[in-house]
């Protein structure tokens, strides 16, 4: 090579370096997706669709085979460090990571917890088998697979056990039923009742519906990090703990959902319909409502309490303190407000849960019942701009499958251009293509291929989409769908036919673009560029615009015509719809975290231990909101340490995270992972807190017993702390306050007052009040009170009455022309009229006495004593003055 050539190449290289745009850091999610999303779920869809027979719907493929394939796809997406430990006979390190994670987290919460050995799990090699043993079914049963898929999809436990969170009885398998319901205000009477494990399990119809729900819901429902389990209440016709027969369920922010029979009804005619869908989604939406408020740290306990939602629906809060001093707080709804049903009008929380649930399951009904503004707000904020009325479903499903047309359409155009086979299809007419180069042979070939594609897409929609059959229910629905599909196919085919006629190299260029079409790189980068700081933000509008622009620019770079670039940008955008990209991205991170559960636990334990080992006090105010204990207390030094250290521990974890050598270098990725990591770490910390709190609670009486004698001695050494001679509760209260100061032990997980109050009251204070010294003190003090207060009553009252009498004399003077009687009677009346004031002044002066104050003497006691002298003093004063 000539020297001049080197210079030219060097300059060229320099120019390339200089001109190329700064490259975005590689994302760990893209690396993960390159490995795991190669064979997308379309494989499953296609394998099913290719075997589809007319009329099949999602319910027709509810088989063990389908569920196994689905599980295989989920599991293939999680790779990483094997999980250590065992569950009964199983070595967790030999199991797929999600199964091992499930058993590690929930292994001791499944099955018959009253009699764990009653279920024989021997021979089971996977989680579905374990669930099927609980169901007392063979391994070829859908139940075990549905329970496991629920965990894979949502990350929490669809319970198959007999211990209901928050149940009254401490015994598994025992639930209380209402045996008497007297008229209010009397309390209901409950009695224990035992239920077999089978009554806590779902039947096959319910299992299908629950499986369908795993297909209905996407994120944010798949990220309910505040939910641990969904528990079925024993089936039956009784009134359970506070819930009537036919009641639906309850979502507890303690982390569980309870489902009763009333939540689990399905239609006999159509398995895709029934209250179960609305009921279960409603309860899950409560969790979402709470989680969003928590994650966004708004002022509220529920997101639906935020002003924007209240204004959207028309709720407002009526709050005041009533005449009895009690705080009253009630929700009111503006009369013109429109709600999906009456129940949704009861509060913002119920409105939110109900409206979102109906929005997802009964789109057409929701569209007609609620205000358009609210309908669009829900669509935009919780369903990525999608809607589930029939029109919305058709548009959404077409968009979803349209991208798969594109790749195929190009191949078919190429094949048909070269083919000499005689096809008979007239799906397209000549008028559909304005290009003269389309021969009748080619037209029929394209028609044939398009018709097959349309049929395949329709089959896929019906069979695989949870809304498919309901959307294409009537002949009219089907016709409208066919028209949409045909128009879309025609546009795809037309573009390729047109461009091929103009540019012979078009096919090669399009092949490059097709490769790009399957890559997530551009989509992920567009998503990152739109990210606003929280996974709860809906980025759809930003993303849609950005991804189209980026893909169009890439198409132009590939040499594709500018006139076509915009269309290709849209094609790429449709192939990488926001809901799917965000969902896959978030799932990538969740799977990465799942694969590194042990490292998260390690970091959390280290942080907890480090903070535990420091010296503690409760002086400073608690600062920070990252970690807060769910119950009980945490001394401020410990609390503040955790809140200060957790961000460091989380950042360290993210920096150590590695996928096949790819680290987290993208700043937005770090933010997203931190957001997913936070609830996991907080949950672990809360677990440590709860365990430590329970341990401390057991130790408290022992610790206190060491100080009890010393405190008792202190209390009886000097009774100056006694605050009242008549009010025992006041005495006990002052005794407790003094004794608390003598307790040297500082509990870490309980408020000192809560930890020791009852021990102090029932111990040293009770003893002190029974002490001889106390009795003597009371007697002596009583004398002091008698001397200082009660003995002065008569004289003081007389003095005050004297003043009144003089006043009466001045206003009713004696005159010679009046008789003594006519003067005396009015004066006496004057004294009586002012008597209340006389007594009041007397009482006030006595109450201000230092002894009265010292013993917190009751006003009523002094008033009673003062009143007892009324007649005597009045008589004496009348004699003296009138």
């Amino acid at each position: 090579m000539k020297r001049s050539n080197y210079i030219i190449y060097a300059m060229g290289a320099l120019a390339l370096v200089a001109c190329s745009k700064p490259k975005a850091p590689k994302s760990i999610a893209t690396a993960w997706q390159d490995m795991h999303l190669q064979s997308s779920e379309d494989t499953l869809v296609r394998s099913i669709a290719s075997n589809n027979q007319k009329g099949m719907c999602l319910s027709n493929i509810f088989t063990v085979d389908t569920l196994k394939k689905e599980i295989a796809q989920y599991e293939s997406k999680v790779s990483g460090r094997a999980v250590s430990g065992t569950w009964k006979h199983l070595d967790l390190s030999t199991l797929p990571i999600p199964q091992a994670n499930f058993l590690k987290k929930y292994g001791d919460k499944i099955g018959d917890l009253a009699n764990p050995e009653s279920i024989d799990y021997s021979g089971c090699g996977d989680v579905p088998c374990i669930f099927n043993r609980i169901y007392n079914k063979g391994n070829n049963n859908v139940a075990g697979y549905v329970h496991y898929i629920w965990f894979l999809k949502f990350g929490h436990y669809l319970s198959a056990d007999n211990m209901i969170p928050d149940q009254r009885s401490p015994n598994p398998g025992v639930y209380q039923v209402v045996v008497s319901r007297p008229p209010a205000p009397a309390a209901e009477v409950y009695a224990d009742k035992s239920f077999p494990i089978s009554s806590y399990l779902y039947n096959e119809t319910e299992l299908y519906a629950l499986w369908r729900i795993t297909h209905l819901l996407k994120e944010p429902y798949t990220n309910l990090t505040n939910l641990n389990e969904v528990q079925r209440i024993p089936r039956g016709v009784e009134n359970f703990e506070g819930y009537k027969v036919g009641a639906c369920g309850l979502a507890s922010t303690a982390g569980h959902i309870r489902l009763q029979d009333g939540c689990l009804t399905t239609s006999m005619m159509n398995k895709d319909e029934g209250f179960l869908y609305v009921g279960v989604i409603h309860e899950m939406t409560h969790m979402l409502d709470n989680l969003q408020a928590r994650e966004k740290r708004s002022n509220q306990y529920y997101r639906s309490y935020d002003k924007d939602y209240l204004d959207l629906v028309g709720f407002y809060k009526h709050e005041y303190t009533n005449a009895e001093g009690k705080f009253v707080s009630e929700w009111k709804l503006k009369p013109e407000a429109r709600t999906i049903r009456d129940y949704a009008a009861t509060s913002p929380v119920e409105n939110f849960a109900d409206t979102l649930a109906y929005f997802r399951q009964e789109g057409d009904r929701t569209k007609t019942k609620i205000d358009d503004v609210q309908y669009n707000w829900i669509s935009g904020n919780y369903f990525h701009g999608d809607s589930y009325d029939k029109i919305g479903n058709r548009e959404r499903l077409l968009k979803k499958y349209e991208s798969s047309f594109a790749g195929k359409a190009l191949t078919k155009v190429m094949d048909c251009t070269a083919s000499e086979k005689a096809y008979q299809s007239n799906y397209f007419s000549a008028a559909d293509f304005s290009v003269s180069s389309v021969s009748p042979w080619v037209l029929r070939c394209l028609s044939h291929e398009a018709q097959l594609m349309a049929s395949e897409v329709t089959s896929m929609v019906k069979i695989y989409e949870p809304d498919g059959c309901n959307t294409l229910d009537s002949a009219q629905d089907q016709n409208q769908w066919n028209v949409l599909v045909k128009n879309s196919l025609r546009e795809s085919f037309k573009t390729y036919v047109t461009e091929m006629s103009k540019d012979p190299a078009y096919v090669e260029k399009m092949k490059s673009f097709n490769n790009l079409l399957s890559s997530r790189r551009l989509a992920n980068e567009a998503f990152f560029q739109c990210f606003k700081g929280s996974v709860f933000d809906d980025l759809k509008s930003c993303y849609d615009g950005k991804v189209t622009r980026v893909a169009s620019a890439e198409a132009i770079n590939m040499g594709l015509p500018e006139s076509h670039a915009q269309e290709l940008g849209v094609l790429y955008s449709n192939a990488h719809a926001y809901s799917r990209v965000s969902s896959d991205l978030y799932n990538s991170y969740k799977n990465l975290l799942d694969a590194n559960e042990e490292l998260i636990t390690l970091k959390s334990e280290d942080t907890w231990q480090m903070c535990l080992n420091m010296n503690h006090n409760d002086d400073a105010a608690p600062a920070g909101t990252l970690f807060t204990p769910a119950k009980g207390y945490l001394v401020s030094s410990f609390f503040n340490c955790l809140n200060a250290q957790m961000p460091t521990a989380m950042t360290e974890f993210v920096r150590e995270l590695d996928f096949n050598g790819q680290k987290v270098v993208h700043p937005i990725e770090e933010q997203i992972i931190l957001e997913f990591l936070k609830p996991k770490m907080v949950t672990l910390m809360r677990g440590y807190h709860e365990t430590s709190m329970a341990e401390e609670a057991q130790e408290l009486p022992v610790i206190f017993s060491q100080d009890a004698d010393k405190i008792r001695e202190f209390l009886v050494s000097d009774f100056s702390w006694v605050s009242s001679l008549t009010d025992k509760s006041s005495v006990m209260s002052s005794c407790r306050n003094l004794a608390l100061g003598q307790v040297t032990f500082l509990p870490l997980y309980h408020l000192k007052r809560e930890a020791f109050s009852s021990l102090i009251m029932s111990g040293p204070c009770q003893d002190a009040l029974g002490d001889e010294g106390y009795k003597k003190f009371v007697e002596a003090s009583q004398k002091e009170v008698d001397n200082q207060i009660f003995s002065r009553v008569e004289a003081l009252l007389e003095a005050k009455a004297d003043e009144r009498a003089l006043h009466c004399k001045s206003v009713i003077p004696w005159k010679w022309e009046k008789t003594r009687v006519t003067v005396r009677l009015p004066r006496k009346a004057c004294l009586s009229m002012g008597w209340k004031e006389v007594e009041k002044k007397t009482v006030e002066e006595l109450l201000n006495d230092s002894v009265a104050k010292r013993f917190n003497m009751k006003k009523s006691d002094i008033e009673q004593k003062v009143s007892s002298y009324e007649d005597v003093v009045k008589e004496r004063i009348s004699e003296k003055h009138f």
């Binding site: 005041y320 303190t321 009533n322 929380v349 909101t625």
Partner: protein
Amino acid sequence: MKPILFLSALFLISCGAQKNDPHYGTTTIKELIDVKGEPIKEEVIPVDDSKILHYKNDEKYQVQNGVVTNGYINPTNEERTLIYWKHAFKDCDVKIQKITEKIVGHEKPEFVMKCDAKGTGVVYTEDSDIVLRVIKYETK
């Protein structure tokens, strides 16, 4: 250097400034309006000679016979956590009252935790670590 010191001092003064909270039980409606301005709206409540004055940020004041008796405000920063108030009330004889008379739907009942010595109560939901509202009243 000097301007920095001056600005720092100004910042400290402004940050350390006391909120213009009414003295519950003594501040009159006129004094309240002098400080807070005219309310956004007034609401009638079923208590004799009483009404609620609404201000921005969902701040409300209850007035009876022309005297401010209660304030209802949203918690800010750490005040949103229940543990903050448990710590603040740790030396108080705390009283806890259930607010929710009737459970509607699936909501957990709300409670108010009051410290009369501080004239402050906080509203929270059962089993929750989040404070929804702060109530102010005359200290006892």
